[in-house]
């Protein structure tokens, strides 16, 4: 029997991932959340900030302040932390391609608050590799991007020793469909890639390198299969310990510890019967807290309305209270590890470790994680896993309550309020942000800005650590867009493999899919040529899962599919539709910027003489917007509750038929 320890375990850091509208609105929210007992901050930036555009850039239109806070310059960063004393704060920033820049702004803000940067505590996510695989906010090609990651690491280890310079993320891999084995393998391969790069950069001596090893932290996911997820956390701990001691020769047990934060699974949170998400979230939280030996250091939870839209302060409060009940009401923190010695747990941990090691070797033989990403291998593996997951839901083998079973429900009072149960960002916010940006630009010394930017360019070209010149830029009043533009010119831009070129997943599949295949073929014959679809992802939105799965399914039922990945402009999409002679355009938009983008695309189509081409859209589309879009001529709208991909495909055939004067089949599959 494990004895009760004399001192209880300390509770983990409790955060909510938040930010929206503007720096000052987000500051207000943060101070309110801290007042409610939240113990750290987790900043969500808007997509222009994450992809290196100022709020007034054409590509930022409709995205400013939507899914996070816009930070254009030092003034915004100062407003974000107004009256929040940074020396006492633990701030996590979900920032990647522009991580050196946002860290530079944070450091400069601290200086201006009179805080010594060496005291700062917190985390920059700064894990670029998973951006190519899942999260989508990369800018530059992998090689220079890895260098920027290592620059942040070497800088902070020397100057901000308590900072977590990189959070190696398996979280986003699970959100893109990864199995536990894949999460383990790809996250650990990423960690060794980064550590190897730091070691080989020649920027540090052996002692500093040992310190770096101890600063590597992880950001992990916990899904609904919470026993297996507990085992995964234990597997992570065991494997990391081994890597640290064997690969890097670091033997201090404190430096070998697998330190991780968590956001629990959101992919499995549903639009139908959204109240069920609460129990999912709580069970998932158990996975990362039950085992003391593998307990999370920091947790942030999604809200019950995850699949509906952005959470309101009350929704986030509910999620925070879940953590507080577990930590402070239950006896969880009073015990030592309750799984030690369990042969069942042990056996599954071993199985996961073996699976992960095999996959890690496969990546290593391809030359490492960077090569396996560039070749498309890892992305294909993820898309394959996600496809398998969706097919299992389709077949009913994977049960999701309220979605593919127990669908009957009484109307929910949660969603019947006047705001439909989600947060809406005021459309005026974008204009105000642009005005304040322009005023800021007018107020600074252009000469200082130019000098700072040219120092940045030199550092980028010479291989000097990018942090010093970035801090100089922050002080001079450089903007996010200017900083990024300099690096875009030096490093170039990148498009990642889409991973949809996987082998067919329609072997021995449902008769439904076969029926649709006949309809696709017959319609193609009637219209003279095989049916073609363009799947388009306009705007800065990086949510690619839906588009990928629609593309794979479309191919599997016989469509010819054109899909060019994320972040295309309306013009690019319409050009591709024209050049490829497609029969229908399907857009996928989850970032909330659908209204503006659809209007732009409709306009471009008209100019290209393609006004008659049917347009459909899928993603996070609130009901009010759906009505408006339909009035604009959108033929169909799909949201997360439309999990039956065969039904969507059957619809698409009928939409094409109607647009071409053919009778629709109209029968359910």
């Amino acid at each position: 029997m494990a004895p009760k320890p004399t001192t209880n375990d300390r509770p983990w850091l409790m955060r909510t991932y938040s930010g929206h509208t503007s720096a000052s609105a987000s500051n207000e929210l943060y101070r309110m959340n801290l007042g409610k007992g939240q113990t750290g901050l987790s900043v969500a930036f808007d997509l222009p900030t994450q992809t290196g555009y100022d709020s007034d850039h054409p590509l930022a239109r409709g995205e400013v302040g939507k899914v996070g806070v816009p930070i254009n310059h030092l003034g915004d960063m100062e407003a974000l932390f107004h009256e929040i004393p940074l020396e006492r704060m633990n701030t996590s920033m979900t920032i990647n391609a522009t991580a050196p820049w946002l860290l530079a702004l944070y450091v400069t803000t601290a200086e201006r608050q009179g805080v010594n940067p060496a005291q700062l505590q917190g985390t920059t996510q700064n894990d670029i590799l998973k951006e190519y695989l899942s999260r989508g906010t990369y800018i530059f090609p992998p090689e220079p991007s890895v260098r920027l990651v290592t620059d942040v690491i070497t800088y902070t280890v020397e100057h901000i020793p308590k900072w977590n310079p990189t959070n190696v993320c398996s979280y986003h891999l699970q959100e893109a469909g990864a199995t536990p084995v894949q999460e383990l393998a790809y996250a650990l391969s990423t960690a060794t890639t980064i550590l190897d790069a730091v070691r080989d950069s020649g920027q540090m001596d052996a002692d500093s390198f040992t310190a770096v090893v101890g600063r590597i932290s992880f950001f992990v996911n916990a899904g609904i299969r919470f026993i297996e997820e507990t085992c995964k956390m234990r597997a992570f701990s065991a494997m990391w310990e081994q890597i640290v001691s064997q690969r890097y020769g670091v033997d201090d047990p404190k430096l070998q510890r697998f330190r991780y934060g968590v956001q629990v699974n959101s992919l499995g949170l549903t639009e139908s019967q959204p109240e069920n998400n609460v129990q999912r979230i709580v069970l998932e939280m158990l996975a990362v807290t039950l085992s003391k030996r593998a307990r999370a250091r920091a947790i942030q939870l999604p809200a019950w309305n995850e699949a509906l839209g952005l959470p309101r302060p009350w929704d986030q409060q509910w999620a925070l209270r879940m953590q507080q009940v577990l930590a402070f009401e239950t006896d969880l923190l009073e015990y030592d590890d309750i799984f030690d010695g369990s042969p069942v747990i042990e056996a599954h941990v071993t199985e996961l470790i073996e699976g992960a090691q095999t996959e890690m070797e496969r990546v290593a033989t391809q030359g490492g994680m960077v090569q396996a990403i560039e070749s498309g291998y890892v992305k294909r593996e993820l898309v394959t896993s996600h496809t398998e997951r969706l097919r299992a839901i389709e077949r009913g083998d994977l049960k999701i309550i309220g979605v593919n079973c127990f669908q009957e429900t009484t109307e929910s009072p949660l969603t019947s309020g006047s705001d439909s149960g989600i947060m809406k960002v005021d459309a005026k916010a974008e204009q105000e942000q642009i005005q304040s940006l322009q005023a800021f630009r007018a107020s600074r010394s252009q000469a200082e800005v130019d000098t700072a930017l040219s120092a940045l360019r030199d550092a980028a070209n010479n291989g000097d650590n990018i942090m010093h010149s970035s801090i100089q830029c922050a002080r001079a009043g450089v903007t996010t867009g200017e900083w990024s533009e300099v690096l875009r010119k030096v490093f170039g831009e990148y498009r990642a493999p889409t991973g949809i070129d996987i082998s067919a997943h329609d072997k021995g599949q449902s008769t439904a899919a076969e029926k649709i295949r006949d309809r696709v073929q017959k319609t193609g014959e009637e219209l003279g040529r095989p049916l073609r679809l363009l799947i388009g992802k306009p705007g800065l939105d990086g949510h690619s899962n839906g588009a990928e799965q629609i593309a794979v399914k479309g191919r599997d039922v016989g469509f010819e599919i054109v899909y060019e990945g994320i972040r295309l402009t309306p013009k690019q999409i319409v050009r591709a539709a024209q050049e490829e002679g497609v029969h229908l355009i399907g857009l996928s938009i989850l970032s909330g910027s659908h209204t503006g983008l659809v209007t732009e695309i409709a306009l471009e189509l008209k100019q290209a003489g393609l006004a008659r081409l049917p347009l459909i859209i899928g993603g996070i589309i609130p009901e009010d917007d759906a009505e408006q879009l339909q009035a604009q001529g959108i033929s169909a709208i799909y949201t997360p509750k439309n999990v039956d991909l065969n039904a969507i495909m059957a619809d698409i055939v009928d939409i094409i038929r109607r647009h071409n004067g053919l009778e629709p089949f109209d029968q359910a599959i």
């Binding site: 070749s375 498009r495 493999p497 889409t498 949809i500 070129d501 067919a504 329609d506 072997k507 295949r517 696709v520 073929q521 014959e525 003279g528 040529r529 095989p530 593309a551 794979v552 479309g554 191919r555 599997d556 039922v557 016989g558 469509f559 010819e560 599919i561 054109v562 899909y563 060019e564 990945g565 013009k571 690019q572 050009r575 591709a576 024209q578 050049e579 490829e580 002679g581 290209a608 003489g609 071409n660 004067g661």
Partner: protein, 335 residues
């Protein structure tokens, strides 16, 4: 209900607009050439005949790029585009991807690699699925190329170099360029054994991979190395990196050289005429078998070569083709 013919374009108008280089017209033409309905085929043949009448002042170079999947054909094309664009040349690309043998569907993924073309009016990319032609190029490819050649200075066909398509593309392009990647032993074996027709230009891509790339380069040079007589085109073996951009200028120069080599010998037109005839005969053979073709020869009282010439020298070979086809169909229906 709309009928087919009112959605089909007017062939004369279409031919003029395509010859003038109008993008929407080219898109319409490509859709038409893809259309298998009898009414559409007739209009398509007329359109091609009218288009052939409009001589172009373009440089008009048809380049076939072939090689195994993943060798970097799309990346290489993408790297070539800016070089041509900087010289003011307009570029059309026809990218052929394999279809799923099970569903008949396809993922047309080559565009993704050709990102340089995104906002450039001087570049036009059309993808095409292989559509189960036993590894060969589908029937639409040749007429589509003709349409592109009428509009662009350079037309590139990219196809996966497996099976029949390898031969098909060589029997179509002015210049065939084969792309190999480091460690591709198969290609070398095929070259050695003479299974693979020797292309006009051999490229080893991914030279940034170092030793492996150098070894493949040497192996290929050894497999193809021979003395060329003054009369022959001597096949260059080049080393490039599409992602780093090295060797691409040299490749562009070699492509030019080969075009000039053909042009100074007045070979471009005759080769294209011959390819066209062979293409049409092949189509007839695919549809009606050797028996059908033999029957045609008897009917027309001509030998194979006569049939060849008939198709090759008429002013509108595709109309010829449609009428030969019609002849066979009626003959067969009578029996």
């Amino acid at each position: 209900m709309t009928t087919v013919s009112d959605t089909l374009p007017d062939p004369a108008e279409l031919a003029s607009s395509v010859a003038e280089g109008k993008r929407p017209a080219l898109a319409t033409a490509l859709n038409l050439l893809d259309d298998r309905r009898p009414e559409a085929r007739k209009i398509a043949a007329r359109y091609l005949a009218l288009l052939a009448g409009k001589r172009q002042a373009t440089r008009s170079h048809l380049i076939g790029i072939t090689g195994p999947p993943g060798a970097g054909k799309s990346s290489l094309t993408s790297a070539l585009i800016p070089i041509w664009r900087n010289r003011g040349l307009r570029v059309g690309i026809l990218a052929v991807d394999p279809s799923s043998p099970i569903s008949g569907g396809a993922l047309l993924g080559d565009r993704l690699r050709m990102k340089t073309s995104f906002d450039d009016e001087g570049v036009f990319i059309r993808s095409l699925a292989g559509r189960g032609e036993q590894g060969g190029l589908s029937a639409e490819v040749w007429p589509m190329c003709l349409s592109m050649l009428a509009t662009f200075d350079i037309t590139v066909i990219e196809t996966v170099g497996v099976g029949q398509s390898e031969i098909d593309i060589a029997k179509m392009s002015d210049t065939t360029c084969f792309v190999a990647q480091p460690g591709s032993g198969d290609s070398i074996q095929f070259l050695k054994a003479g299974i693979m027709e020797i292309p006009h230009i051999l490229v080893v891509n991914k030279e940034d991979m170092g030793a492996a790339a150098r070894k493949t380069l040497m192996d290929i040079r050894a497999a193809t190395g021979r003395e060329y007589s003054g009369e022959e085109w001597s096949v260059p073996v080049l080393s490039v990196s599409s992602t780093q951009g090295s060797g691409i200028e040299e490749l562009a120069a070699q492509l030019d050289l080969h075009h000039d080599w053909l042009a100074t010998r007045n070979l471009i037109e005759p080769r294209r005429r011959q390819f066209q005839a062979e293409w049409i005969l092949k189509r007839l053979r695919q549809e009606f078998g050797s028996f059908g073709v033999a029957q045609l020869q008897t009917q027309l009282q001509t030998a194979h070569s006569g049939l060849d010439r008939l198709i090759g020298e008429g002013d509108s070979p595709f109309e010829q083709y449609e009428s030969l086809r019609a002849r066979l169909l009626t003959a067969w229906n009578r029996d």
